[in-house]
Symmetry: C2
């Protein structure tokens, strides 16, 4: 055998949970939570200036939401948001963390002399019991393209169980965006796919010649596996704004105070975008998100803060953007209009991963309609 | 949040199973079996000429072991060993595979017109029931440094349940080898570790300056995490024979017909090696394995075949060798003698991964004794 985890050359992520249909806690740990038990990973997030500045400003420019209040931090990780909440004057902060990172968070709380305010609780938010309801729920729950990881489910659960009717959510709102892009990555992936298939055909020939076994029956499933890997898996991207060739559109708008799990189980909609660049290539779509800290209607923020992961020259984030390349690219030009149908569902094998379907119809400024194309993608 | 699986830049493998102390089937699938459900991975193994040739020759140069016999292939994967066994004249072959790869194996069997001989059974060998005992158990169960993956446990279970008293094991014997090596990889890893720590100190300063939180209490656990990752995790290597600077020694010898799980739960021993190169650097140890196809005492092979993963100029394998670098390297020269203590146990977090401890004492040909050093490594 010889599976490849300690061969760094192998970038493939395997996400099957062996067909288990319900969420097994151990499996969920093995596939998901374990990542957050690494300080290395925490450091990556704590070094994300866009992420840090927006939460920092949201808290310290809205101290009235924290002063003498009770706060719940869902998935506190290293404890940074809980510590800031305490520094902003919270009376009590419950910092819940499912992984062993809780021990480091506890040490950090003590080292910063906040042990009288911040209580770190190791456990899943779904399981823990708090002695009181809270005024604020703060959490950094966003995954790639907002919903990957499905962690917002846990925030909703926490909100429904522990937030006072007058309470506020940090962040209070979230949006998913898509926009048409140009990129060389899709071409690269296509050529990677083609070489993988060329290699396969050579492999089939050799196996027949040297070992007397005809492997050609596996060509179709192999090509499907490789298609999924190279052509149907979205890519982490750090897009330059110039790569966005049309207007961006919101495909999902979430009010964190009222959204239910049902509201986010599936994201579906039709949006339109007009090309803003002359004579260019539509290579696919980029997807990103932003979240906002506005407090609540009855208890608004004094300073509204936004955290955006949109393509930016200076302010890139560890989330980057998700790239969904098409094959082949389509020539478009300024004024062309795209009617985009979009649907996102959770992967059957792993509820924290997503499957996305894009449909696109191009109405050229000339009036011609370019036959629409459809593509399915996996966010892994 | 934003964990990194679809960021190919992140090569880190996370292996915690969330502290689950017993082996959870779902977790085991998520962490282990799933890898083998990829045809890409099967192709990697099927393209390993050393692996393929040795099994192919073992079977077809010892047809008397297969002709009109019943065979059990444990972990058949794509089904190649089962198909060869049938082509060598087996009356019946049971090909057991735990993953969905079983479906591809079934298709391959039919495409090669062996459906009357080869029966593919999807399930764990521990769970399946065969209608009869078998004459031969064949399996390619070897992981990095032989025992990683702990798959031999399943072969032992199959043998004790299904092999006739007169039966033979393919392979019949296995050995673990270690040898002193010189390599630049250790220096590289040490400098990677140092840069990671330099980065960390900058991170601690910035977090204090910009965000008012003192992270220095996490410096020790972070450095331990990074030490484990960079300095205590064995590395996949494709060693050139010239990198082996002393005599190789066997640390474990396994008779596949009689070995028990207790025999392989822990591997412990002391071996010696003498340096065979003049004035060189002892940078650590290389570990590899070989297996042999000798049949049994009462029913020996006509042609004994060996599969070795030792350093080689022409015959490298996908297993390569495991590298266990030391810091700092030690100057040694021809005639110096190494007394090496070695122990390998299964990781508490994941029974398919290994923890290794090396101790080494150098008696220089001059008679001087170099203070011994100890190092712990993880095979991940």
């Amino acid at each position: 055998m010889g599976s490849f985890p300690n061969r760094v050359v192998d970038g493939r992520s395997s996400t099957s949970n062996g067909g288990a249909s319900v969420v097994d806690k151990g499996v969920d740990f093995a596939q998901y939570f374990c990542t957050y038990a690494f300080l290395y990973h925490q450091k990556e997030m704590l070094s994300d200036r866009v992420r840090m500045d927006s939460y920092f400003n949201a808290i310290f420019q809205n101290k009235h939401h924290f002063h003498e209040k009770t706060v719940l931090d869902v998935g506190t990780g290293s404890g940074i948001l809980a510590i800031w909440s305490a520094q902003a004057g919270a009376r009590k902060v419950y910092a819940v963390e499912a992984t062993k990172m809780a021990e480091h968070a506890r040490a950090l709380v003590i080292a910063n002399n906040l042990q009288d305010v911040v209580e770190v609780i190791e456990g899943s938010i779904e399981d823990v019991t708090l002695p009181e309801k809270v005024d604020v729920i703060i959490s950094e729950w966003m995954g790639y393209f907002l919903l990957r990881e499905s962690m917002f489910d846990s925030v909703i659960c926490a909100r429904d169980r522990w937030l006072k009717p007058t309470g506020v959510m940090y962040p209070s709102h979230a949006r998913m965006w898509i926009a048409p892009i140009r990129s060389g990555l899709g071409d690269q992936k296509m050529s990677d796919y083609r070489s993988a298939m060329d290699e396969w055909y050579g492999f089939v020939d050799e196996t027949k010649t040297y070992y007397g076994v005809d492997m050609s029956v596996l060509t179709k499933p192999f090509s499907e596996e490789q298609r999924k890997y190279y052509l149907q898996t979205s890519m982490w991207n750090n897009l330059h704004p110039h790569q966005v060739i049309g207007t961006a559109a919101v495909v999902k708008d979430i009010d964190c105070l009222t959204a239910t799990v049902d509201d986010i189980l599936e994201v579906r909609g039709s949006v339109s975008s007009s090309i803003t660049l002359e004579n260019t290539r539509l290579c696919g779509f980029g997807g990103w998100f932003d979240v906002h800290f506005r407090g609540s209607k009855d208890d608004p923020a004094q300073q509204q803060i936004e955290l955006t992961t949109a393509p930016s020259i200076n302010d890139s984030t560890h989330w980057g953007q998700q790239g969904f390349p098409f094959h082949p690219p389509v020539r478009v030009t300024e004024g062309d209009n795209l009617n985009i149908s979009f649907s996102m569902n959770r992967s059957k094998e792993n509820h924290r991963l997503m499957e996305i379907e894009f449909g696109c119809e191009i109405t050229q400024c000339s009036g011609n309609m370019v036959p629409c194309f459809r593509n399915k993608f996996f966010i892994e």
